[in-house]
């Protein structure tokens, strides 16, 4: 088995696990964890092909993905804490602020 197959397998599996967390779990925090997993799976592919083709753009994009993931975590978790102040927004079905 060569490295490319292994990287594809890891990346694909992590992406699937992240998508499953995002779709099947009801807790908002678990969904944010799934998003982090999705971003990591994408970054892995960028780094592998950057090394393989000796092209630095993949590395730069992977670095930007890490920065965007940090910003997303700050916004998502802060939003979640703000929403859960009244104890009503731990799960997706509880949030009605934008629907009402």
């Amino acid at each position: 088995m060569n490295a490319e197959v292994i990287i594809w397998a890891i990346s694909g599996f992590l992406f699937l696990a992240g998508a499953a967390l995002l779709v099947f779990r009801r807790q908002l925090l678990a969904m944010i964890l799934g998003l982090e997993l999705l971003l990591n799976a994408a970054g892995l592919g960028f780094v592998y092909y950057s090394a393989r083709w000796q092209n630095a753009e993949g590395l730069a994009i992977a670095l930007l993905v890490i920065a965007v993931a940090a910003a997303e975590a700050v916004v998502g978790l802060g939003f979640l804490i703000a929403l859960s102040r009244d104890g009503s927004a731990a799960e997706t079905g509880d949030i009605r602020a934008l629907a009402d």
Binding site: M1, N2, A3, E4, I6, I7, A9, I10, F13, L14, A17, G18, A20, L21, F24, R25, R26, Q27, L29, A30, I32, L33, E36, L37, N40, G43, L44, V47, Y48, S50, A51, R52, Q54, N55, A56, E57, L59, A60, A62, L63, L64, I66, A67, V68, A69, A70, A71, A73, V74, V75, L77, G78, L80, I81, A82, S84, G87, A90, E91
Partner: protein, 163 residues
């Protein structure tokens, strides 16, 4: 040898990702996510991307995990309506730690053995990356930094009052 290390780290990352999905407790899910992030950092190291591996540990497994744990602590304890009822079995934990230890031993052995059988990120490539980030992608780099700053400021603003 290096391919085996890569495969073992992939298996550990996959196992932890599955456990992360199955756990009822958010703390357990967060710990599993940290394991996945550290495994990805190990894969980055195997691919030769040392700066990215360092940032992965520092930003993902460090800063973001701290944020997540604080958010879990601050969130209300309403976990009763989840469908998942599984708990982490001790034999599985042992298996994961055993695999991670095997991976570390194999990594040390392969490091003594010499080069890896795939293309790695070279020092010149990392220099090119820095050139891109502060050259052609400078606007994107600044935007990412600005996004983090604005998100932190928005939270502070929300602390004063959302309306």
């Amino acid at each position: 040898m290096a391919v085996t290390v890569l495969a073992v780290s992939g298996v550990v990352a996959g196992l932890l990702a599955v456990l992360m999905f199955l756990q009822k407790s958010l703390y357990s899910s967060a710990i599993c996510l940290m394991g996945v992030l550290l495994q990805v950092a190990a894969i980055y190291l195997l691919l030769g991307a040392q700066i990215l591996a360092f940032l992965q540990v520092l930003v993902y497994a460090g800063a973001i995990m701290v944020l997540i744990v604080i958010a879990i602590m601050a969130a209300p304890p309403r976990l009763g309506s989840l469908w998942a009822e599984n708990h982490l079995p001790s034999w599985l934990l042992g298996l994961i730690f055993g695999l991670a230890a095997t991976e570390a031993c194999l990594a040390l052995a392969s490091r003594r053995g010499g080069s890896v059988p795939w293309s790695v990120v070279t020092r010149a490539l990392e220099m090119d990356m820095a050139g891109l980030l502060f050259g052609r992608y400078a606007l994107m780099t600044e935007s990412a930094g600005l996004l983090i700053l604005l998100s932190a400021l928005a939270l502070l603003r929300y602390e004063d009052g959302p309306r």
